[in-house]
């Protein structure tokens, strides 16, 4: 029972200073509940990427503690990093697909590194591709797909292991508004089935369409949090037209 009471992510007085002296995060404390969807906003250089890198154990905090899914990350040493990363799905702005491998092989990679039995691999890869609507491209190469489709493949790869936590760094950064909304809706669907979702995005217009908590970073500090209730509630499907959107916002 305590497991469900514990937040999925807990930052406690976290500082991150890079070797070049840049203070990327300053005294950051933050809880993200299990099953919650949270947007991380702020200008580039505000510390969004650093926050995500700490979660992925690409970087370590200079000070402070970080607990993810019940594990204090300070206790996860180098040899335990792979096992830790398998509990988390990651989506990147540049999607990081391997160009010389088929979509199937790209999506199956997290299962393969975890030694999943081959017949389960095929089943779960197809399920994940089906969830992002790309089942028919199984044997295609990433270059044969559009940018939006490539991003959805990246998403399928992130969720194929059914991780409890999904983190994304500017997942819609290279997408036009229609595709952005489509991708965000897929994230939303995963949140609806219990996955904790943390998305860094500077696309404020887009994320305002979603009923989710927003955390704003500025110069490495947490500036403001918008609780879910305070956000304007829209049906995302109706809000593809940004002009219409701006009109609503002004009222």
């Amino acid at each position: 029972m305590t497991a469900t009471a514990l937040p999925m992510i807990r930052f406690q007085n976290v500082f991150k200073r890079y070797p070049n002296g840049r203070e990327a995060l300053i005294n950051l404390s933050l809880d993200v509940a299990s099953g919650e969807m949270v947007f991380l906003t702020g200008h580039s250089g505000a510390g969004k990427s650093t926050l995500l890198k700490l979660l992925a154990l690409i970087e370590r905090p200079t000070r402070g503690s970080l607990v993810v899914n019940g594990q204090n990350l300070a206790t996860v040493n180098r040899s335990k990093i792979p096992a830790y990363r398998r509990q988390l799905g990651m989506v990147f702005q540049d999607h990081k697909l391997l160009a010389d491998r088929s979509i199937f092989d790209n999506v199956s990679l997290p299962l393969v590194v975890a030694n999943t039995a081959p017949r389960d691999v095929a089943k779960r890869v197809r399920a994940a591709l089906d969830q992002v609507g790309l089942l028919k491209y199984e044997q295609a190469r990433p270059v044969e797909l559009s940018t939006g489709e490539q991003q959805r493949v990246g998403l399928a790869r992130a969720v194929v292991t059914k991780p409890p936590l999904l983190i994304a760094d500017e997942p819609t950064g290279n997408l036009d508004p229609d595709l952005s909304l489509e991708v965000m809706n897929i994230f939303r669907r995963f949140q609806e089935v219990g996955v904790t979702v943390l998305i860094a995005s500077h696309n404020v217009q887009l994320i305002e369409h979603f009923k989710a908590r927003r955390i704003h970073l500025e110069g490495g500090r947490l500036i403001e949090e918008f609780p879910v209730a305070e956000q304007p509630l829209f049906d995302p499907a109706r809000l593809i037209d940004t002009a219409h959107l701006a009109d609503r916002e002004s009222t």
């Binding site: 096992a83 990081k96 990679l109 997290p110 590194v113």
Partner: protein, 304 residues
């Protein structure tokens, strides 16, 4: 365990596919390794054949004991019976003076001249074949010294100097082959290591992504190890081919030379066991080279 085994097999076959995607680069690496492995293997075959030749000669190291002309055939026979009890003597043949003379007369071409002699100038002779494990030059020298002290004995003839020189040279050559082999083995490790290092640099993205999705160091390293294994196995196979062709080309002329010396000697190749050992050495060195390179360079590649 089954999934684990399946993964390894998949990687084993997968890396073979990966190598075939760059056939020229792979073949060049294999060619260089093949040559590096073939050289010590050829030298090894050479030394083994040279040893086989000297083995033949060891058997032929008989000691001729010429008795004094005053010793008659009966005494010679008694001496032979006494000597037969020595543990270092395998067999003794007595060549009686008359028989020696008769043979000499028939084969030397001096038959007419020898008729003129009133008595037989040839002594009774004992031809001693030593026990094989004593057929070292030092042991033979010791034995002939003892024989020389016998009162019946006139001359003990044993020409060991050339055998000693030959064996000493062979020993030197064998040691040189070992040295060359070790150096070239090191070379093979470095060649594979360098190839794998370049391969790692070319696959930086793949390595980063694999680590991001939770691939362990061992998982990331595995395909590179198998690559090294295939390079080594290919190099070993090529080396085996080179040695076999060389032996086949030399077999004829060597048999001719041996025939001219009245020997049945023929050139021996690597044999199946030697060939398998060569393959194993190649694969092992390839694996080692890639292990060293992958362990060193993969750690440096971390997602950013």
């Amino acid at each position: 365990m089954n999934a684990w085994l399946a993964r390894h097999l998949q990687t084993l076959v997968g890396t073979l596919g990966r190598l075939s995607q760059q056939p020229m680069a792979s073949l060049l690496t294999i060619l260089v390794m093949g040559i590096a492995l073939a050289l010590p293997a050829c030298l090894n075959v050479l030394v083994r054949n040279a040893q086989a030749v000297s083995g033949d000669w060891n058997g032929a190291l008989d000691v001729s004991v010429y008795l004094k002309t005053s010793v008659n055939a009966d005494t010679a026979e008694r001496l032979m019976d006494t000597l037969k009890r020595r543990s270092d003597i395998k067999s003794i043949k007595l060549i009686k003076a008359e028989a020696a003379l008769k043979e000499f007369r028939e084969h030397s071409g001096f038959g007419e001249a020898l008729q003129a002699l009133s008595d037989n100038p040839l002594p009774n002779t004992l031809v001693i074949t030593p026990v094989e494990n004593l057929a070292s030059p030092a042991a033979l020298n010791a034995m002939s010294d003892e024989l020389r002290k016998l009162s019946e004995v006139d001359v003990v003839q044993l020409d060991t100097a050339w055998v000693q020189r030959y064996l000493a040279m062979l020993d030197t050559v064998r040691r040189m082959v070992t040295l060359v082999g070790l150096l070239l083995a090191l070379g093979v490790v470095v060649i594979v290591g360098n190839t794998i290092r370049l391969d790692i640099q070319n696959r930086r993205d793949e390595i980063e992504v694999t680590k991001l999705v939770g691939g362990s160091d061992a998982f990331v390293r595995r395909p590179f190890l198998y690559c090294g294994f295939w390079y080594g196995l290919g190099g070993g196979l090529l080396a085996w081919l080179v040695v076999s062709i060389s032996v086949a080309l030399l077999a004829g002329p060597v048999r001719k030379i041996a025939g001219l010396y009245g020997s049945q000697f023929s050139l021996a190749g690597l044999g199946v066991l030697g060939g398998v050992a060569l393959l194993a050495a190649g694969a092992g060195l390839g694996w080692l080279g890639s292990y060293v390179a992958a362990t060193r360079h993969l750690r440096a590649i971390e997602p950013k």
